[in-house]
């Protein structure tokens, strides 16, 4: 019963359960929810162990340091949200039992692969797990068979697979670098081994490897210009899935980039990796922010906002230890805020039947609580004070100046301002204004809002202070990534 069983087993079990047990749909739904909470418990236990200084290891396959603990918590948390608020649980959502069963199977597999990716020590298996996430999530995008969702899923699987293949090429080249130095070794692909051998590795080869890895995992993280699959996939997928994808899949891909950055920084020395990371980060921030400006579909608006914030996190990684602290805090904030927003967008879509911003007005009057949380989430996403993003953006700007990159920070602030103005104009139109005809007023299934309200409160807490356990975790991550 090592630290990882509580984390990995529940999602696999519920996937299996959903696969085998076709009748008793409601019971399976409840068991699925409970198991997802067990996974969250496992993540918290892992977190507590890491905080107490221990580095839990299971054979030479699984290893969890601070970075893994943070990601594990994010993934399991969002997976639990998706389990409780996804298709097949609410009475009136528009998914038939078969679709709900498919969702439950693949969503749990999706969560399992992500958890495995962040807790494995072997970079090879990390690649296999992330490739598996592509496969499992691709199956769910066309849950509602429509021309748009098929198109979105095809582009997702094609671009995702091509991108991830390049990452494997990078992994192979890095492994070659190790082999040509210390000969073949069974544990060569373990991250700890690679990191210890890093100073002696050949810098030019590692540069080549890191380029492939950055482009590969960058595609999965939605960094520009490899981001093109993201808006289509997130706007066509079911709300719960896009919450998981936008919230944590991008974070897991960034986790892979961070792992390799830690190795590459030591081998190649400062400057090389940071410059490329800042370049791609700025590009994604620019494309994300500018696309928010005249966007007409609110789910795509949230998708582009994910691209923008992933770009921000990416820039943070290149700004030294302070930057990594800010980036990881921003990653945590973004996961919580974006998954909450997509789930709320799902409710709005269910009520208004249209994803067009023009079609939604008087949201505060139609669904006061959902509207209020939607507004709070939107304000959190654009970095307004009571919420955590403001503090992490401040820390990022401060790290930027400390790392001596004022021009980059100037660009970042300008682009964030553009994104801010874009979102505000749309938010105004959605929240206020007359109630459109044929839209029922009233909250509907209210209990689903409780977890989302908890997310909003968590964001507000992160806005006012960074609690000691999270602060401790983030400081440890900064030590790992940028010693």
């Amino acid at each position: 019963m090592n630290a990882f069983t509580l984390l990995l087993v529940p999602s696999l079990a519920s996937a299996l359960l959903a696969l085998l047990v076709r009748p008793y749909r409601r019971v399976v739904g409840w068991v699925n929810g409970v198991l997802s909470l067990v996974a969250v418990g496992g993540a918290i236990d892992l977190w507590a162990r890491v905080l107490s200084g221990e580095v839990p290891v299971a054979g030479d396959l699984l290893r969890a340091d601070a970075l893994s603990a943070l990601l594990a918590l994010c993934v399991s948390g969002v997976a639990a949200l998706a389990a409780w608020l996804g298709p097949g649980v609410g009475a009136d959502d528009d998914y038939d039992p078969a679709q709900a069963r498919t969702f439950r199977i693949f969503a749990n597999l999706f969560a399992a692969t992500m958890l495995f990716a962040v807790t494995t020590d072997n970079v090879g298996f990390m690649w296999v797990a992330i490739e598996a996430t592509t496969i499992t999530s691709a199956m769910l995008i066309p849950l509602h068979a429509s021309r748009a969702s098929v198109e979105a899923s095809w582009k997702y699987i094609l671009i995702g697979s091509v991108g991830i293949a390049l990452a494997f090429a990078g992994t192979v080249i890095a492994y070659f670098d190790f082999v040509s130095l210390a000969g073949r070794d069974r544990l060569a692909l373990n991250w700890t081994v690679l990191r210890d051998a890093a100073p002696a590795l050949n810098p030019q080869v590692m540069q080549l490897a890191f380029v492939f890895i950055l482009v590969g995992y960058g595609t999965k993280a939605g960094l520009a210009p490899m981001h093109t699959w993201l808006p289509d996939a997130h706007s066509e997928a079911p709300a719960a899935l896009s919450a998981m994808m936008s919230g944590v899949l991008l974070a897991v891909a960034m986790y892979a980039v961070v792992r390799w950055q830690a190795v590459a920084q030591v081998t190649i020395g400062p400057g090389f990796a940071e410059d490329f990371i800042v370049l791609l980060g700025l590009l994604s921030l620019a494309i994300g922010a500018l696309s928010l400006w005249s966007q007409r579909n609110y789910k795509r608006l949230l998708a582009y906002s994910s691209i923008e914030h992933t770009g921000l996190i990416c820039i943070g990684l290149a700004l030294g230890p302070l930057g990594v602290f800010a980036a990881m805090l921003h990653l945590l904030n973004h996961s919580v805020a974006k998954s909450m927003m997509f789930l709320l967008a799902g409710r709005v879509l269910h009520r208004y039947r249209t994803a067009e911003i023009g079609g939604v007005s008087g949201l505060l009057r139609v669904m006061p609580w959902t509207g209020g949380l939607f507004a709070a989430g939107m304000l959190a996403v654009i970095g307004l004070p009571p919420f955590g993003m403001f503090v992490s953006e401040f820390a990022l700007v401060r790290a930027g100046f400390a790392a001596g990159r004022p021009v980059v920070i100037g660009l970042v602030l300008a682009l964030l301002a553009i994104g801010f103005v874009g979102v505000i104009a749309h938010l105004n139109r959605m929240l206020y204004g007359p109630v459109p005809t044929g839209v029922a007023v009233g909250e509907g299934s209210g209990w689903a809002l409780v977890p989302l309200a908890c997310c909003a409160v968590f964001l507000m807490v992160l806005g006012l202070t960074v609690p000691a356990p999270i602060d401790g975790l983030l400081v440890r991550i900064a030590e790992i990534v940028a010693p």
Partner: protein
Amino acid sequence: MDTLFAQLVVLESSLALLFGLGMLWRRGVPAYISAFLWQSLVLAAVAATVGYFGRERELYLVAALLVVVKALAIPWLLRDMERRFASERELAPYVNTATSLVLAGLLVLFAYAIMRPVVAASQLPTRTGLPLAMGLVLVSLFVVMSRKKALTQVVGFLMLENGIALLAILGTYGIPLIVELGVFLDALMGFLVMQIFVYRIHETFDTIDVDQLDRLRH
């Protein structure tokens, strides 16, 4: 001894690259499938050669897997799909054949340039094949990018995986077995999912021309 081993490996790698270039030249889908089949066989041969000369027992297992999965199973599935959509000949690709072959040549040259430090750092006899492997990777990227039909894009993607496998075998005499198996399983699963999607595209759009898939804009 090593010179024979090195020459044999370079011969087989260049054969694999030639089959990749063959895809750019031919127009019909059956030709694509047969090119992929032969390429997988050559790749299995490379694995066996390195296994024999480099005394790596595991590579024999890899070679066997390559033959069974990539030379037999996948081409059979591909032919089955091809029969289903026989009516759709591959339309003129985005780039006409002459320019795409010139571009492929340039990509191989570029591969040589970027692999120079890798070849320098490697002491293995198979190091001369590495640029060819990278060339195959870049060419297959170009193929995926420029084909119009979903089916041909899938074959291009499979060719990309072959290129990377070749790179792995030449560079490191094969990555640790467990990981190799995981990669193989992923490749297979990926192909199956793509296959499902091709069928679904055919159902909803009743064509597999990816150009029709452009409704999701800005």
